[in-house]
Every structure is written in structure tokens, then in C-alpha cells.
Symmetry: C2
Subunit: 347 residues, 2 copies
DNA sequence: AATTAGCACTCTCGATATGAGAGTGCTAAT
DNA sequence: ATTAGCACTCTCATATCGAGAGTGCTAATT
């Protein structure tokens, strides 16, 4: 890691700050004028030359101002940045909103996406809480009307999956209940991988449900469901998106599932819940992300359900704001998740 | 309505077709060459001049080729266009996919959004089926773990709403069941507006659930839930989105709820299920939609659940393809909806 | 040794000019 | 009614140019 003098750090910090605000290369004179430095522009020039040498700044073209490189931004985020916490009053408002939405996970997601987007002024992405290793606990089948049946699948983590089924033929509630009971005791505590082969003597109803449970457990262990999002109009208003294929490339992150899954898997796999990961540019690994940055976090609890959330913006985004917003919302959602499963019954 | 000669119609049609493909003004000579017309370019020029007079064509600037006006496109869609039906083999593949997804409404939505987007080559939007006047039929409360309770709300339409609740305190299953029974008989057949005032003597649990049912019925009668979508990368690849604020304005349709609600209300309120509505440009009413077109339909069944779906593209979109795709998918989903509620029990 | 004033130098960007080309509208002939 | 012919118009791509911003370097200063 490079060693920078205090003054170099100061200048790098100011360049980043100014560039983030103005979206334009920043010159030495501009810097001393704007921030009242007590050195001359020539001194700043020399320092800038050195920072360019080190790879933290670059010139878009000879004799233009300086712009931070991805490397420079990484250094900034790692060592120089200070978070821009949300005002306390705003935090109160937000947690109040979450409190009102406490009954519906869907509402959490919408609200979280909205808060993330508006506070970070970038596009937000968030996946619902899911348990990584779905472990069967209990099954119920509820007749609603005709062949339409509601399957309620309860996991050991406390997560509940509800699903409407349309069966091949109609069955009375008693038959449904007994089948559910039978399958429940057969599958208790099992993960998808541990499920036994279906017994020969199983009825058609039981066999159908058995298969559906299998599919559902599998689905829960892979992928991450619907992706909620908001604030794309924020980022598309930024000048770097106003022409070329930048807008299209950004949306690709949302619409190309494999990309997003790969991304989350690689970036977040070593990360604890609670940490915020900042991905600046493609980092060499994702060409599609050039010129974009992502600020990501995982929320939930280790042994139960967890999900991902984050914001996407131009490389020139306000990292201080983004990191603190993501961190705050992740914390809030973690509370919501654990709140929703306190006082577990001992069964 | 203007009266056009057959030849004028032919020329208008060709101009539209060529413009849609090439995204460029089309000239008289180009037209006769490309489509082997047996008249000279001078004749075509005269006809074009007339069509410009009538308001169906316009010149981006003096002595450029012609481009259809919104008026011209409307005439084209109304009188000249022929649908471009999907190949039968493709239809088979698609309905097979829907068949496999028949158990989960969420899957319908994703699949429909994906099919709409890829076949129309535009951005797709779709809302889940919802009953316009939610009428209470039946309520169940299922204890899952601790204070976490699943509320299952069955409507007379056959629609089932499942919702996770986190109660203020824990209750045993018997208490939940009896409360559900009590509320079920009290509210049977009622809409949100018809619900009685809550009796004084109601327990805290009953009161809480009562309020939630009210909120839920209200939510179901207004708005349209999550909007699924796909294919934005399709449209953003079109040249008209490559610069300026076009991309941002398009995304606004997705992110600004009030706009979309207003739009659907106004465009679709007089429309029967089954009809496809084409909205070209803002039609004067929606400034935000200038340069965009929407092809919309409603699916489901009148007296039960229904939803909206459609595609959004540049004004220069392939209407033949879009209309037939939207119509086809709407029909498919209508089948899915009615299928999922056949053989209603007589209760 | 670090800082700074001064200055020549470089490169972009916007304005201006120019010419080729596409496509038209009109007139006169068919 | 159609068409050939042609002058005319306007855009777009390209080239040229000068202003201005900002640099890097050198020599003077602290």
C-alpha cells in the first residue's frame, strides 16, 4: 500500500469531493480558491503530479484538471471518507414508517428500496429475506375453493412460505389435513438434499405435494427471489448517463439475473452480516460494471433468513452518503427480521 | 376522418414500415427502389406532399425524407396494420411454460413479463390479478412461531391473500381459530365499505385483526400491487434513447406510481377485457409520454380478479408485433386466472 | 529543502466556414 | 394523371481557428 503525506491525502480528498459534486475535472487553482488552502496552486500542482504518478489521479487529457482513478476512489473510501449520517429526525421518521409496515415483508422491501434510493440519490436494489439452507419444519394444506389449495410451508428458521396450488382434482379438507400431517412427520428437520425418496405406497395427492415441497425447498436454497428496486430515474439524471449506452448497461445489472447472482456471490460470500462492501468499477472482474459503483450489504441473521441490499450509481457517487444509508437500512431490516421471530414457540 | 386513396394508404403504410425498421426519414426514391413500386418517385413525392398536408407525415426539416406523425401512426394502427402473430410452435412452448408455472402467480408474472418483452422487443409492464371490489368470504389465522401468525384471507372471487403478521403478544392456536371464526361470520360477504363498526366488546386480538382485514380489503380495492417488468434493456438500445433524457423519462413511467395509475384508469376504464389499447405519444394528455407508445390490455375476468399488462417502446415501435403479443399474453393469462378458479365449491 | 511566481506549452471546446449529398417542389413534357 | 428534369434547400460531416484552462518546468524566494 502506498504511503501518502497528510497533505496529499487532503488534496486527494478534496479532488474526490469536488469531482463528485461537479462532475468535472478539478484544477489546482480551483482547489486553492474554493477550499481556501494556505499553499499556492503550484504546490498543489506538484502534489497532484505525484498523486498522478502513484495512480490515484489521472488527467482526461494533457493539461486538463485531474480526476480520481478507481484506485484513488478505493483509497478514498478505505481511508479518507467520513460517513454522512442521516439526521436523527429523519431516522425517526423512517423507523416509524417501518414500524407501520411491520406486518408485510413486501412493504419492507418497497419502503427500503425507496429510502435507499432517495437518501443515497442512486438506484437501489434489495432482495427479500431468505434462509440459505431451507430446513423443513411443518406443512399445512388449506382448502380455499374447489381445486385451489393453499400450501403453507413453515421452515425451522421461522420463515413461512405460502403458495397457492391448483390441484388436478378436488379433495376434502380432512384428506388434505391428514396428508399434510403425514408429510410433516416424514420430512421434519430435513433439507432439500436430505429428503428421502418418496415411498411407493404414497397417494397421488401426497406424491404431488411431496414433489412441490421438494421444488420449493430447492428454490429457497438457490437464487434470491424478486428483486425490488427504486431510484433509477435518480441515476439516469446524472450526466454520465445522458448519452451512449451507459443507461442500458446500468439496467442490465437489474435484468440479467446471472450477473447479479454472480456479483453477490463473489462480493458478499466472505462478508459478515453488518459489513458494507464497496465495489468501484468492475474491479477488473466485471466488465459490465465499468464506470459504475455498487455499495452492498447483507441484512438479516446468520442462522435464519437474510437478504441483500445495495445501491448502484456512477463511479462518481457520494460514497459517504451511500455507505451510511446502506448500513443504516441494513441494520433496520436486520432488526425487523429478528423482531419478527422473537419469542419462538418451543413447538 | 380523412379519406385516403388506396395508393396513399399503401405509401403511408410503407413509410411507417420503413421508418420503424430503419429509424430514419424515408425518401420517395428509396421507397420505389426498395419496394419495387410501379410508379415513379415523382408520383410518390406528390402523394407524400398530400399526406403531409393531411397531417399524416411530416418532414424533420425542409428537404429531408418523411416521417409519420403521431396522427399518421394512429391511422396506421387503426386501419392499415396487420398483426404479426407469433408462430404456433412458439405459442406451444410458451403455454407449456405457463402450464409448468401454474402453481405460482408470481411465476406467471415473471414469465409474462419476459415473454412480452422478448416478443415485442420493448419494455413490458404487468400487474398481478386483483379483484376490483374485494368481498370478504372467509378468514383463517395460523400460528407459525411465537408472535408470528399467518393470516389467510379468502375473497368471494376465490382470490386468496396470505399475509404474515407479527402480533403484539403470542396467542395459542385455539384462540386464533376462534377469533378467526368469529370475524368470519361477522364479515361474510362484506366489502370494505360495508364493514360494520367494530363492536365495543371485542378483544385486543380480534380488534387488531379486524383493522388489518379492513386495511387489506382497502388495499385490494385500490392500486394494483407490485408491477413486474422486463426488457428495459431492449428499448434503451434503440437509438432514440441513446442520448438526452429519453431513458430517464421512460423509466419514470415505471417509478412514478401516480402516473401509471392515472394512465391505466383513463385509458382502460372504458375498455372491455379482451381489447388492446394503443396509446401513441402523450395524445396531448400526458406530456411525460411524448415520443413513447404504450400497447395495453386488461386480462382476467370481469367479476373476479383482473390485472393490466402492456409494453412500452419508442413511438417508432413495431405495432403489429406489439399488439399481437400483448393480445396473446393477455388471453393466456385470462385462461390461467379462470382456470385457477374453476370448480368452485358451493361453500 | 520546500515553496512559489512566472511563463511557455498543450490540448479541448465552441464557433465558423465549407462542400457533398440527399431529397424536395415545381415546371414542362408525355 | 404521370413523369423526367432540374434548381433549390437544408443537414451533416469535416476542417479550421482562437480562446481559455490548466499544466509542467525553471528560476527565484523563503
Amino acid at each position: 500500500m502506498h504511503k501518502l503525506t497528510e497533505r496529499q491525502k487532503l488534496i486527494l480528498g478534496l479532488v474526490v469531493q469536488d469531482y463528485v459534486e461537479a462532475a468535472q475535472p478539478v484544477g489546482s487553482k480551483h482547489l486553492v480558491d474554493r477550499y481556501g488552502l494556505d499553499v499556492s496552486s503550484a504546490t498543489v500542482r506538484n502534489e497532484m503530479a505525484e498523486l498522478t504518478e502513484t495512480g490515484f489521479l489521472r488527467q482526461p487529457f494533457t493539461s486538463a484538471g485531474r480526476v480520481p482513478t478507481e484506485e484513488g476512489l478505493r483509497f478514498f473510501v478505505g481511508e479518507l471518507m467520513h460517513r454522512q449520517e442521516l439526521p436523527v429526525s429523519l431516522k425517526h421518521t423512517i423507523s416509524h414508517q417501518f414500524y407501520q409496515a411491520r406486518h408485510e415483508v413486501q412493504q419492507w422491501m418497497r419502503l427500503a428500496a425507496s429510502v435507499l434510493a432517495s437518501q443515497s440519490r442512486a438506484a437501489s436494489l434489495i432482495t427479500p429475506p431468505q434462509s440459505q439452507q431451507a430446513r423443513f419444519k411443518h406443512l399445512e394444506l388449506i382448502l380455499t375453493t374447489g381445486k385451489q389449495v393453499l400450501m403453507v410451508l413453515v421452515l425451522e428458521s421461522g420463515q413461512v412460505i405460502q403458495q397457492m396450488l391448483v390441484l388436478k382434482e378436488a379433495f376434502p379438507q380432512e384428506k388434505l389435513s391428514s396428508t399434510a400431517e403425514q408429510l410433516s412427520s416424514m420430512l421434519r428437520g430435513k433439507t432439500q438434499a436430505e429428503m428421502p425418496a418418496p415411498p411407493e405406497a404414497m397417494g397421488t395427492l401426497a406424491a404431488e405435494i411431496f414433489r412441490l415441497v421438494q421444488v420449493e425447498l430447492d428454490r429457497l436454497s438457490t437464487g434470491f427471489g424478486e428483486v425490488y428496486h427504486d431510484g433509477w430515474t435518480n441515476v439516469l439524471a446524472e450526466p454520465e448517463f445522458s448519452e451512449g449506452d451507459a443507461a442500458q448497461r446500468a439496467l442490465r445489472v437489474l435484468e440479467e439475473r446471472p450477473l447479479l447472482e454472480d456479483l453477490l456471490a463473489q462480493v458478499m460470500n466472505e462478508s459478515e452480516i453488518g459489513g458494507v462492501q464497496v465495489l468501484i468499477g468492475g474491479e477488473g472482474r466485471w466488465e459490465q460494471l465499468n464506470d459504475f459503483s455498487l455499495v452492498l450489504a447483507r441484512y438479516g441473521s446468520q442462522n435464519a433468513a437474510s437478504g441483500y441490499l445495495g445501491v448502484l450509481g456512477p463511479i462518481r457517487m457520494s460514497y459517504g452518503r451511500a455507505v451510511s444509508t446502506v448500513d443504516y437500512v441494513a441494520g433496520l431490516l436486520s432488526e425487523m427480521v429478528s423482531e419478527s421471530m422473537t419469542e419462538k414457540s418451543s413447538d
